[in-house]
């Protein structure tokens, strides 16, 4: 009945796992005197293979494997490709910025790759228990990575805070899954989607939905579940922040899409107003708090909360429109956010001697390359046309308007105006002449970082100037998500991302 071997359905995950294991083993077996940097290249190559394998999965007929627990479809391929690209960019970024004498570099690279396994699996899982396990895999990797700078005063604090709050949130998710299981007797997503409308106890199901939403909204750091974000971002190494502000969020949004549109399509009347409120709260809280920040990483942390809000606005869209808009936004957001954190890593330094907005003063004069790239990403975050950030917001708010949530779009656009103020503060500092009384060190831009930056710039530009292909991909993805029974609609996927 299913001619595709099951292993093909999880090929990228398998490749990533093997890469991670290889890196771990090499770390343990290589003589201690040898440099550990090549392990990063091993991880990067493994991720590249996983990226290619994800694209290759498009040639498979859509369907499920391993007893209906994972599927491959345009939707999963889109997110796999996105996550692999983000992981690749952050590996490249780490390669050049991680101090050469730092401990356990092999573990660092392996953890990034293992985290990617969890994230990829999360987007492909159609069984809530597997999704939970995948979420834990990715979370545990990021908990450890967040505390990687053990010497820094804020490193361990960040890790513990993230770990405690994160465990608490996943408990909510698990509780929600248990309730859904109690109501229907299954945890398979398509089965749930079929059985939940017929469930006897309505309150039971609504509680399950609410619990799951809490668990996931924590992961995407939407207000009011955002309190961990600024502290963790400040304490974690910046290359890790580039990763964890984008890839796990993309994966969590994929799960959120599945839960809202596949598990609980019958409860739209409940979930839509909830998400509406969370979106408005996230945008407003994120932007207002970001206005007051002096530390660039904290400012970007609040900005990421606001962006989660813009993205959630897409959930007000009807059916495929909302899904496509949300998926597009994750890609646009990932491209510009990885890019800007790459610049911040280089300018602030790995140990973050220069974390403040004032420390960015004159960047455009000191290092024209970094300065112009920084301003470019800020422009995209503001949402100026011809960048990915513009089309992301455009589709998201269009979806909201299409779904009848005009006020959500208006609030979102007002918020974009507020947000421009703090992005511009950073941009203006960078464009200003340097302080003549201060001496600045010019950051070095290595080959690997250059590649990561170019990847991010190219992605942001493509999403802003020629979004057609990506739009096609997210739309095909949205369509596969809308079919509750995968056997009934084994449509060939039409376009590649």
């Amino acid at each position: 009945m299913n001619p595709v071997p099951d292993i093909y359905r999880i090929l990228p995950e398998v490749i990533l796992t093997l890469t991670g294991v290889a890196v771990m083993l090499l770390e343990a077996t290589l003589p201690p005197s040898w440099p550990r940097r090549p392990l990063g290249w091993v991880a990067a190559f493994g991720t590249t293979f996983a990226f290619i394998a994800s694209l290759w999965q498009l040639s498979l007929p859509e369907g499920t494997g391993y007893f209906n627990t994972v599927e491959t479809s345009a939707f999963t391929v889109f997110f796999h490709v996105l996550i692999c690209a983000i992981v690749l960019a952050s590996l490249l970024l780490s390669l050049d910025t991680l101090p050469h004498d730092s401990h356990h570099q092999g573990e660092y690279y392996a953890l990034i790759v293992f985290g990617a396994v969890g994230m990829c699996l999360l987007t492909g899982a159609i069984e809530l228990l597997l999704a939970f396990v995948a979420l834990e895999i990715s979370s545990i990797a990021t908990y450890i990575l967040a505390g990687y700078r053990k010497e820094a005063p804020k490193g361990p604090e960040a890790a513990i805070k993230y770990f405690l709050l994160g465990s608490f949130a996943t408990a909510f998710l698990l509780y929600g899954i248990a309730l859904a299981f109690g109501a229907t007797g299954t945890t398979q997503i398509y089965e749930l989607g079929r059985l939940i409308p017929a469930a006897q106890n309505h309150a039971f199901v609504v509680t399950a939905l609410a619990m799951m939403l809490i668990g996931i909204l924590f992961k995407v750091s939407a207000a009011p579940f955002h309190l961990w974000t600024p502290d963790v971002y400040e304490g974690a190494p910046t290359p890790v922040v580039a990763l964890m502000s984008t890839a796990p969020k993309a994966a969590a949004f994929a799960l959120l899409l599945r839960i809202v549109y596949e598990v609980f399509p019958s409860l739209h009347a409940v979930s839509t107003p909830l998400l509406w409120a969370v979106a408005v709260l996230s945008m407003t809280v994120g932007n207002l708090a970001a206005l007051r920040q002096k530390n660039v990483k904290r400012m970007l942390a609040y900005s990421s909360i606001a962006h989660a809000g813009y993205l959630l606005a897409a959930f007000a869209g009807i059916g495929t429109i909302g899904i496509a808009a949300a998926s597009f936004y994750t890609a646009a957001y990932a491209a510009m956010n990885v890019g800007i954190f790459a610049v911040v890593t280089l300018v602030s330094g790995y140990e973050e001697e220069l974390p403040l907005v004032d420390d960015f003063r004159g960047l455009l004069h000191r290092s024209p390359l970094l300065g112009s790239v920084l301003i470019f990403f800020l422009i995209s975050l503001i949402g100026i046309p011809f960048t990915g950030g513009f089309f992301g917001k455009f589709y998201s708010f269009s979806a909201a308007v299409g779904g009848g949530a005009i006020w959500l779009a208006v609030i979102g656009l007002v918020n974009s105006g507020i947000a421009a103020a703090y992005y511009l503060r950073l941009a203006a500092a960078a464009a200003q002449r340097p302080d003549p009384d201060k001496t600045y060190s010019t950051p070095e831009v290595g080959i690997a970082v250059r590649a990561a930056l170019m990847l991010a710039v190219a992605a942001t530009l493509v999403l802003g100037i020629a979004p057609g292909q990506v739009l096609h991909a997210v739309q095909s993805g949205a369509h596969t998500l809308r079919t509750p029974m995968p056997e009934a609609a084994a449509l060939p996927v039409q376009s590649a991302p």
């Binding site: 024209p368 046309p385 299409g402 656009l413």
Partner: protein
């Protein structure tokens, strides 16, 4: 043979500066290489813009040199560009001012020339884009894009407090553009198109909820009024003029906002524009008088020019919202004239600022003895600005005032004329205080050289243009008039005719794939 370029000329005009910007950014910063690339690019672009009037068909109404290529399938955004009488000379003017700006920055911009010239060229593309776009989303894209290089350059090269001025400039224009975007999206949701020409027809004959249309038109108007700027929204202008590099200050004021008003506010929403007209006429006259009075008391010549600009731009707003054929012609003509005269004044003041590093008027006096050629050019520009017959300012002001007097309101026309008289007062007193009278201690302490060949080479074309605009207005007016069709009053009247079709716009906005 040159006709062969007609179908691609607008692509050339849009892409050449962009290509130049890339070239400047990629090639090394050796000697004056960035300057030369920028100069050659802008000269080439200027030549391309000259192609437009050379092959412009005066007998044909509507858009020429049109290019219409679908760009994004869903939502249906297309790369639709074209030129008509309204935009024709504005494009040529923008093309002319670009090389002038490059030469003006030749020695003034020494730090980071690569960034300066590449952003300057991107700014050119954005400006041309605004003038030629016939797709609302494309237009919006260029409109927003035009903010970015300007803001960065003001922050980078500001004289005293660049970043603050840049922030003010950016936010003043960016925040009103949010409602503009919502309005454009609303139009798309109702009509299923962003195309200007289609929308113009649909909006004239369609049946739309009046209240919503009122808000949509207001959103358009608000965004443009800030950019012009119209009276209470002018807060950004003085700071921008004080801080912006000369080459950018020349191109920032007026043109984009006024053109957008004509094309996209009055052009798309004639009925709403007519409803708003009394308010705008009142604000325009207040702006004329307020700007003139403020200019009279300024101590800093950049601020004086800024308020003079508020006054003169308000006069054009008055002409636009008089909604008469001759008023519109005068308005476009006056945008041109003001563009040239303002550019000349900025160049000259920039040269003075370069020599003495102060913009405080009181510190000057008796400059004419040291700088006779500069003084000559300054007087020519000043006389053009205050509307001396045979110079460019006269024609526009005369057309505007006479049309206001005869077909709008005598009272407002008289009030506006008072503003113009005040204009003569502050401009002549500026000339007097800067160039004549006893030499101030600063001027006598710093003897400086007069204009050099390069500088004359830049100023001479502007001076010639000032005479040409004033002495032979019909050359310019003929082309402008083809763009004003149908005359505004008749198109407004046609709105009162019963709607021909109802509910003919079923396509809502959607991201669906067409399988």
């Amino acid at each position: 043979m040159m006709k062969a370029f007609d179908p691609i000329i607008l692509n050339l005009i849009l892409l050449a500066p962009l290509a130049g910007a890339l070239l400047v950014a990629l090639l090394p910063n050796r000697g004056k290489l960035p300057n030369w690339i920028a100069l050659l690019t802008t000269l080439f672009t200027f030549l391309c813009t000259l192609h437009l009037p050379a092959h412009f068909n005066l007998a044909q109404h509507g858009f020429q040199y049109e290019i219409n290529i679908p760009w994004i399938e869903n939502p249906a955004i297309s790369y639709h560009v074209g030129v008509d009488g309204l935009s024709l000379w504005l494009i040529v003017l923008a093309g002319l001012l670009a090389p002038v700006g490059v030469i003006a920055s030749w020695n003034a911009i020494t730090e980071r020339p690569k960034i300066f010239y590449s952003l300057f060229l991107v700014q050119q593309t954005a400006m041309f884009g605004v003038f030629v776009s016939l797709d609302l989303m494309l237009y919006y894209g260029f409109w927003e894009l035009s903010l970015v290089p300007m803001a960065i350059l003001i922050a980078m090269y500001g004289r005293k407090s660049g970043p603050a001025a840049a922030l003010k400039f950016f936010l003043y224009t960016f925040i009103p553009s949010a409602p503009l975007l919502v309005a454009i999206l609303w139009l798309y949701a109702r009509t299923g198109t962003f195309d200007f020409v289609t929308l113009q027809v649909l909006l004239t004959h369609g049946n739309f909820p009046a209240a919503a249309m009122c808000w949509v038109a207001l959103a358009f108007l608000f965004a443009f009024a800030v950019k012009v700027p119209v009276f209470p929204l002018h807060g950004w202008l003085a700071d921008t003029f004080c801080e912006a590099p000369v080459a950018l200050a020349m191109i920032v004021a007026g043109k984009l906002g006024l053109y957008s008003m004509l094309r996209f506010h009055v052009g798309l929403f004639p009925a709403q524009a007519r409803a708003a007209a009394p308010w705008l006429i009142a604000l325009a006259v207040i702006g004329i008088l307020y700007g003139a009075c403020m200019a009279l008391v300024q101590r800093d010549f950049w601020r004086l020019i800024a308020f003079a600009a508020v006054s003169h731009l308000s006069l054009i707003v008055l002409a636009i919202y008089g909604l008469t054929f001759s008023g519109w012609t005068g308005a476009v003509y006056q945008i041109l004239s003001h563009g040239v005269v303002d550019a000349a004044l900025f160049l000259l003041l920039g040269l003075i600022y370069d020599r003495y590093a102060t913009s405080e008027i009181a510190a000057f006096g008796g400059l004419a003895a040291n700088l006779p050629r500069l003084a000559t050019f300054f007087v020519i520009a000043t006389l053009a600005m205050i509307g001396l017959p045979l110079l460019s300012g006269f024609v526009g002001e005369f057309i505007i005032l006479s049309s206001t007097f005869s077909s709008v309101s005598r009272g407002w026309a008289v009030a506006a004329a008072v503003g113009i008289i005040l204009g003569a007062a502050y401009m002549l007193s500026l000339v007097q205080r800067l160039f004549y009278g006893p030499q101030s201690s600063m001027v006598s302490a710093k003897p400086s050289t007069d204009l050099r060949f390069m500088q004359i080479a830049v100023l001479a074309p502007l001076a010639i243009l000032i005479f040409a605009l004033g002495a032979a207005p019909s050359i310019w007016l003929n082309a402008i008039q083809t763009g004003i069709h149908p005359p505004p009053l008749t198109s407004v009247q046609s709105l009162y005719a019963p709607a021909t079709s109802e509910n003919s716009f079923p396509t809502p906005i959607s991201l669906e794939v067409q399988r």
